[in-house]
Symmetry: D2
Subunit: 338 residues, 4 copies
């Protein structure tokens, strides 16, 4: 099957490679031929002008976007003159599902379809395949099935869920049509919200393991410092990287994120390469927004997000006010760091 | 190697079976011969009197306890008269690591060793093996190595962590000597604390997916009810069981707990068998206590615990007070459920 | 000064009374004369047709809305034909500040001003006065000063903040022009977000005081129930209503919400009149949404909101999934309530 | 009435002053006469040797301790030889109520009473009076009534709670016998736990007000940064000190902590004197520990505590791990601060 790709960054380029390896024909777009050359070397066709889409692909055309969420709206506008009724744009990036709804409304009168596809897999997707969460009109999603199947991981060696039998569902192969436009990015959004909290759970746990020896340090004994009642309870020096490794086997908390934790801690046990300013790239926020709007309690997902904000100093003024209040009512002066 | 087992419940009995299959000799204890018979049928030896330990096992004896945490102290007292210097008690249950410290102090003058072993694996351990987190004196832990190796899952088919080479560490085989007495249960405690938050993360996420259609319901329009600004954003009906299945493949949040989620939702999509009163059995609390005592922020782990308390109605009085306050300052009356 | 009022519910009617008592002339609107009669009896003029505004008030007209947020947009549309350039609409209800921005944009080309006024005071405002948070064009806000001054509590007996001297600022009299359109409702929104967390803090605290005697109850001793290590630490039966009363005097946590808590607990110590299904009426959510969008950590404000959602059963499915997972990995069955 | 005081820091010295002004006789202890001289100048008697208690006070003696929690146990041991059956020690500091239980058990066979008295009021107590939460045997508490009454604020100008009539309860005068030994510090502990969350609520709210203008700043537009969908919604520059002042009057969130907030923000709007490293001095932790042990959900109280830990860098390793994981699965590099 033929498909176009706009956005040749980390994700987009590897998705093209995975499609080429599966025998699909890929037309890749970039203004700068230097950016398309590596993929041309691997079998793709390149275009450098959006107007070329009309001839580069046979109708109905399918153009996959793999670009930052903030740039999608503008790009769709630039694409419109070069597409025809029946064509489809697949937004495979991390767009907010509400933008999908707006984009679909914009495209509907033109007869152009929007398919939204949440894509998980990161830098590992080329090798492991991409987990695809898809929203859109059933016919269009159906005609893209060979593309989704090629990008997805397939059933692989993962054991089948107890009770399932018969032919594999597409979910069992790693892609799923979740519902009408926006459903794919909605599911991807919640996926990433969960991801934030899973990551936070491991991070808190390993940080606690790292504090297991605080009883060995001297502590001031004054009215400003909470006493450590039983320093003898905090005398351990735990081998964090080995513990992460251990939990990968037979434990209830084994996961792919734990595999990565084991890798990170083995490579750099003190994690000195990182300052701990944790970015968030949109979906975690949108998940929290959706939880609030839909009256769904999501304290873990949201707290994980807030911890990232705090890691970047966004809570500093709040903390200054706390210190100021302590000074006001108790004459407490701030202690120096340590 | 020969080992004794006290506690023939779900976990203990299966551990005996796994040891027998690996060629070890197991002496199982229960006052009631009916309880030991099934394991005798599979090759174990049974005793029905604690005094029999002295002859049932050659010195140095190793007696493994697999009993509720609250019963360990008493049982150790009953065992003491029947053990000798050099013998070792392995507490494989879910004891608080502080109790290990107290038990070890009690046993030290008697020359009896305490080894603590946090055990993860649940009802799946017989088949998958048990992930073992071990604390205690190095010599005693070393002489128990064949037992730990037999209980642990082994390296299995799990890919080796990038960068590791040479002989497998014990962690790579699923067991680890984490440090002196208590270290094993400390690590297991944090393991379970992480587990609570991981579970909570998936639970919140799937609950949010389930709320994706709330825009289809009618809502009252009055000063008491927060308006849903954009009902058109919440019109989905998402296939939860398929989504769980999907995420098992190629997604960042794949995990063993997600495998179980897929299984639970496939078997009973509405989860009607469960009322949602979630128990907690100790380690989650101890993790939160340790976080607080050691000044380690752990909002996710602790909030996951509190959500369990709330699920059992422990927050009801707080909520009644909130309604009472709303009535006091705004004349707001409680709305009926729905 | 002359002013119109639309919305004669709890809040609106009392505001009219407070204005009348201060010597202002109030024109009150309701289709149904029975609704306006009580205020006419107290000195107001009534109209029953929106078209009457043009003659009922001299230009520039000021019409104050005290209606549910969800109804404001429509009402503004109905008002437009009956107002002239230079007139002003004051939205004194609990509108989202973003709606203010949209409403102002709608009115601007017509030369009609929008002033947004967040109003705190609830059923107590008639007696205590209303705390007013105001946004809008400086000239229009300035010409409404006599109205704001009359509604506000005034300086009263509250001690002046250390360091302040000279003439009282309007804030010291209980009203403040916070900035351009929307600023008033923005500040009111955050005010209510804070309120949710303050209320939640007291609620959690009193609930904990109420749990101070749990050591007196029998608890099961099994692997499903977290042991209470020291029942002797939880043997108190604390006099909640007296404690609330006590804290009103000289304590760091004295507040108006505590005054109300003391009142609620004195009237009904067990709070049996309330089931604990806590409503939320918009601003708490908007505060959390603003926190997320602006990268501001607000875990307390947001968690307080989520606790309200949970109190209404919105988290039940999440809890069912937790119980289902516990059953899956550990064979744990749910315990019955108690 | 005669009473002894040990601990002449900020709190203790002012309490002596308040007692002297009420006509009580105070014996103050310090090894160093320079420390007792100021109080002697105001009418107190001084002793410099613990052995002098026996003659300095008539039996039954009452010695009030106002010293750091961590020092109480030792001091009680030093006092024991110098007291007689019937005497009483009042621990007015911030001891953990569990230590009260232990101290009382130590003193009981000696016939010496322990009274625990949680004291709120900080540097303001001399002027405003101290809010006293008392635990102990009823007879001993009763004979100390004149002391408690003198230290407490009295009914003052605070309006009586609706429904109360007849003689004032002691709670209405600012002191309360809450129950047996430990009850006073239990109630004080929860008081402080509430205080942490109240403070955190204001801090989060004012921080959010301060972020109301973030839409005016330029933001990078890349895959690493969550887009700010509507910068036009965040264009305000809000007058924080005036807002705090405003809310003191007629608002639902008026409180003494808000009074202090107004004072802090007026004196130093940017709070530049404080770095935002917030100390915690024990009770907040103990409250959270009690919540966990007693199965009481307390997410706000506990999260407020954790935010203090985080403000001191205790969560940094967790954040480093989050950045490391983002790098592992997505190749994301940390952005520089700003």
């Amino acid at each position: 099957m033929q498909i176009g790709m706009i956005g040749l960054g980390r994700m987009g380029a590897n998705m093209v490679r995975r499609l080429l390896r599966a025998g699909h024909q890929c037309v890749v777009y970039h203004r700068d031929p230097a950016k398309t050359q590596p993929l041309v070397d691997e079998g793709a066709t390149a275009i450098h002008d959006l107007a070329a889409w009309r001839t580069a692909l046979p109708p109905p055309r399918h153009v996959w976007l793999m670009i930052p969420a903030a740039a999608v709206g503008e790009l769709i506008e630039s694409l419109i003159p070069h597409l025809e009724p029946g064509d489809a744009i697949i937004d495979g990036g991390n767009s907010h599902y509400r933008d999908d709804l707006a984009h679909a409304e914009r495209l509907r009168p033109l007869g152009i379809h929007l398919v939204d596809c949440g894509t998980s897999g990161g830098v590992w997707g080329l090798e492991r395949g991409y987990c695809l969460m898809i929203g859109g009109d059933p016919e269009v999603v159906a005609r893209l099935d060979p593309i989704f199947a090629a990008l997805a991981p397939g059933a692989g060696s993962i054991p089948r869920t107890a009770g399932r039998s018969g032919p594999l569902s597409t979910a069992e192969q790693g892609y799923l049509h979740c519902g009408p436009v926006g459903a794919g990015h909605f599911v991807k959004m919640v996926h990433n919200g969960i991801e934030y909290a899973l990551m936070g759970a491991y991070a808190e746990g390993f940080n606690l393991l790292r504090h297991a020896g605080i009883g060995r340090a001297e502590r001031p004994r004054d009215a400003e410092t909470a006493p450590l009642a039983h320093p003898e309870h905090y005398q351990y020096e735990l081998p964090l990287a080995e513990i992460a490794e251990l939990w990968r086997r037979g434990s209830v908390i084994a996961s792919w994120l734990l595999d990565l934790t084991a890798q990170a801690l083995y490579a750099d046990p003190a994690l000195d390469r990182f300052a701990g300013r944790v970015a968030d790239s949109g979906e975690g926020r949108w998940t929290a927004l959706a939880a609030i709007e839909s009256s769904t309690p999501a304290p873990l997902l949201t707290t994980a997000l807030y911890e990232r904000f705090s890691s970047r100093g966004e809570g500093t003024f709040a903390n200054q006010l706390l210190s100021a209040l302590r000074y006001q009512f108790g004459g407490h002066r701030e202690q120096q760091g340590g």
